[in-house]
């Protein structure tokens, strides 16, 4: 159906219980994604972005205390499905994940070809040979030579392993792939290679991506849209062109000002203080304690304000 969005997330909540209280990791998150587009979820550690991926894929920890909201995937609210239906029809079939440090998450005693084939055998009901030939195709897409099928993970470099992880997420032809910090441990050139792979996949296979990262510079390599996450909430969403040239939210602005650039020498800024704890988030705007534009209204939680196709959660724009 033309015009229908691939993904709509409404009011997604994920809280889990720890000894000191309840961690409100994802606290009412809204965003959207069209087909064949990539959105980057930008945020620092402790903002809840990894939990967002888990909330969407229903990879919940044992101590979850609240998991609610709506996740419309191609029009269907997958939050309403039972766990088994979700496992069969959504996870890894419509939506898959390349987790953080994926290259270290490969099973060290199984050959990489078999590991890539496994999701195809489980979800697509292929037999081993069919799955392996599908794996070969995936290897071509990500740029790993075919003779690597027989190798074990320790025989591959970090960059190669990350490509294998991407191939694993791709083998069932999902429409959406979530990548959690895909290149954080990799070198510059390897990183560039991986992003080339992702760009090519987007172009040739029409896959959509959600890229979760704290690295602002490399995120611009893939982003069509940007969503900034802070303390469990999305504080700004915008088209990439608009965001990287002129961010609106004070946090986004400070983040952009803290990115070192290759050939510029203007003074870098840093943000004083630390992000608030997710266990007892402050009332009102969660960034208010670190914001230089704070005023009285900030004691109340700001609404999401739309402006020229962008969304900002900040009183400055009301």
């Amino acid at each position: 159906m033309a015009g229908e969005k691939l993904l709509q997330v409404r009011d997604l909540v994920l809280h889990f219980a720890v000894t000191n209280g309840v961690v409100q990791a994802v606290d009412g998150v809204d965003f959207e994604l069209n087909f064949n587009r990539a959105v980057v979820v930008l945020g620092e550690s402790g903002c809840g972005k990894t939990s967002l991926a888990k909330a969407m894929l229903r990879l919940l920890p044992r101590n979850v205390s609240k998991h609610s909201g709506h996740v419309y995937l191609e029009g269907t609210d997958v939050m309403l499905l039972s766990d088994e239906e979700f496992r069969q029809n959504v996870r890894w079939v419509a939506m898959s994940l390349v987790p953080q440090a994926a290259m270290n998450a490969l099973n060290p005693v199984i050959r990489v070809g078999e590991q890539v084939a496994e999701p195809a055998m489980v979800h697509l009901n292929l037999n081993k040979n069919e799955a392996l030939s599908l794996a070969v195709k995936m290897f071509q897409h990500v740029g790993v030579p075919q003779d690597f099928l027989e190798r074990y993970p320790f025989e591959l470099s970090g960059g190669m392993r990350q490509r294998v992880a991407i191939a694993m997420s791709l083998v069932t032809s999902p429409s959406l792939i979530i990548l959690d910090e895909p290149t954080s441990a990799l070198d510059v050139l390897t990183q560039a290679n991986i992003f080339n792979v992702l760009k090519r996949l987007k172009k040739e296979l029409g896959v959509s991506f959600i890229l979760i990262t704290h690295d602002i510079a490399t995120s611009s390599e893939l982003a069509d849209e940007v969503a900034v996450m802070y303390a469990g909430q999305i504080v700004e969403t915008a088209d990439a062109h608009d965001f990287f040239s002129a961010p609106l939210h004070p946090y986004s602005q400070k983040l952009m000002a803290s990115v070192p650039r290759l050939r510029e020498t203007k003074e870098l800024e840093f943000i004083v203080g630390q992000p608030p704890s997710l266990i007892n988030p402050p009332t009102g705007c969660r960034f208010k304690d670190r914001c230089s534009s704070r005023f009285e209204k900030c004691e109340h939680e700001p609404p999401i304000i739309e402006r020229e196709g962008r969304k900002v959660k900040c009183w400055l724009y009301s």
Partner: protein, 341 residues
């Protein structure tokens, strides 16, 4: 070796900006590969014929990808590895001639700031104890003096009020605070130079700038020389004067930072610069040019120029046969590449 007023130091080192603090000549650090039982499987040539000088109060960035040997180079400078060949001269003293006492003195002259702030601090020691250790080993026996130095250094890294932090254990501190303690520990013996190994790569974006500025501030105040190892090129222009690019155990290009960024000579340097991203939405529309292949193994590096299998500007018959010597196409800018013969 107690330091009196900082003023004296300033005067002393301020005038010495052109003098050599540390000289490395033809350094090779090779590790033997052990084979089960008998026989040798070869050497890992982690640092292969590296030469450079570091001046007083100068900051140098050493840039390269993983496996290029920069960690081994750094650990040799710290005195953790012995060179297989070559000479390291510090303040006109040859390191290989120093005995145990001499090495202890050398260790007090070099501060080490590590990449992982949490791992670098012993989890069962309080901050106070962590900071005391180098002094105890360096034979600062007076407890009063130790406390005085701790206080001073904590104030310098802006961890105040000092008393609040002294009794804490590392896991009670944030990443940024932990790294400040690591820096404080590196400074506590009032060293001449710091070796910083990716000091901010494990910290959050907003904290990185704070820590890098702190390091820069300390460097300016104490006229420290800093060797700053990183794989993130975008930070080098803020925090160093010169830059060395390492590849497969060799320093393939040395230059002042502005020269290198505006006129990169070695094809690998050019590839690195092209591969580094700046936040710009147009990036999503273009593919980056990346040299094919991967960095070579340090056990059997390619013959001739080590980059030649991946180099787009390779001269067949030359680059794959003979190792290029160091050329200096413009003053202060050296490169190991046949293109500049």
């Amino acid at each position: 070796m107690a330091f009196e007023a900082d003023v004296a130091v300033t005067v002393e080192t301020g005038d010495r900006r052109n003098e050599t603090l540390l000289a490395i000549e033809n350094l090779r650090v090779w590790f033997e590969l052990r084979r089960w039982g008998f026989g040798r499987a070869g050497y890992v040539r982690a640092v292969d014929n590296v030469s450079f000088v570091v001046h007083y109060g100068e900051a140098i960035a050493v840039v390269g990808e993983s496996g290029c040997g920069k960690s081994s180079l750094m650990k040799t400078l710290l005195g953790l590895y012995r060179p297989t060949e070559g000479r390291i001269t510090f303040e006109d003293k040859d390191l290989s001639q120093l005995g145990a006492d001499g090495m202890r003195w050398y260790h007090s002259q070099v501060g080490y700031v590590q990449q992982d702030p949490f791992g670098a601090l012993a989890p069962f020691m309080t901050v106070e104890r962590i900071l005391e250790e180098p002094m105890i080993i360096g034979k600062v026996n007076d407890k009063e003096e130790r406390l005085r130095r701790i206080r001073k250094v904590m104030e310098e890294v802006k961890m105040t009020p000092v008393e609040d932090f002294l009794g804490k254990f590392p896991h009670m501190l944030s990443g940024g605070q932990q790294q400040r303690v690591v820096i404080a520990r590196a400074m506590i013996m009032e060293p001449r130079f710091l070796v910083a190994d990716e000091p901010v790569s494990m910290l959050d974006a907003s904290v990185r700038v704070e820590i890098l500025k702190l390091l820069r501030g300390l460097q300016d105040k104490h006229h420290l020389s800093v060797i700053y190892i990183t794989h993130d090129l975008s930070t080098v222009s803020y925090f160093s004067e010169r830059i060395f690019v390492m590849y497969a155990g060799q320093i393939i290009e040395k230059a002042r930072v502005e020269r290198l960024l505006n006129n990169p000579l070695h094809p690998y340097t050019l590839a690195l610069l092209n591969g580094t991203s700046v936040p710009d939405a147009k990036n999503a529309e273009t593919f980056k040019e990346v040299p094919p292949g991967e960095p070579p193994s340090l056990v059997k590096p390619p013959t001739g120029c080590r980059f030649h299998p991946r180099c787009p500007k390779r001269i067949d018959g030359l680059c794959d046969v003979k190792e290029p010597p160091e050329f200096e196409p413009e003053p202060g800018h050296q490169v190991l590449c046949w293109l500049y013969q």
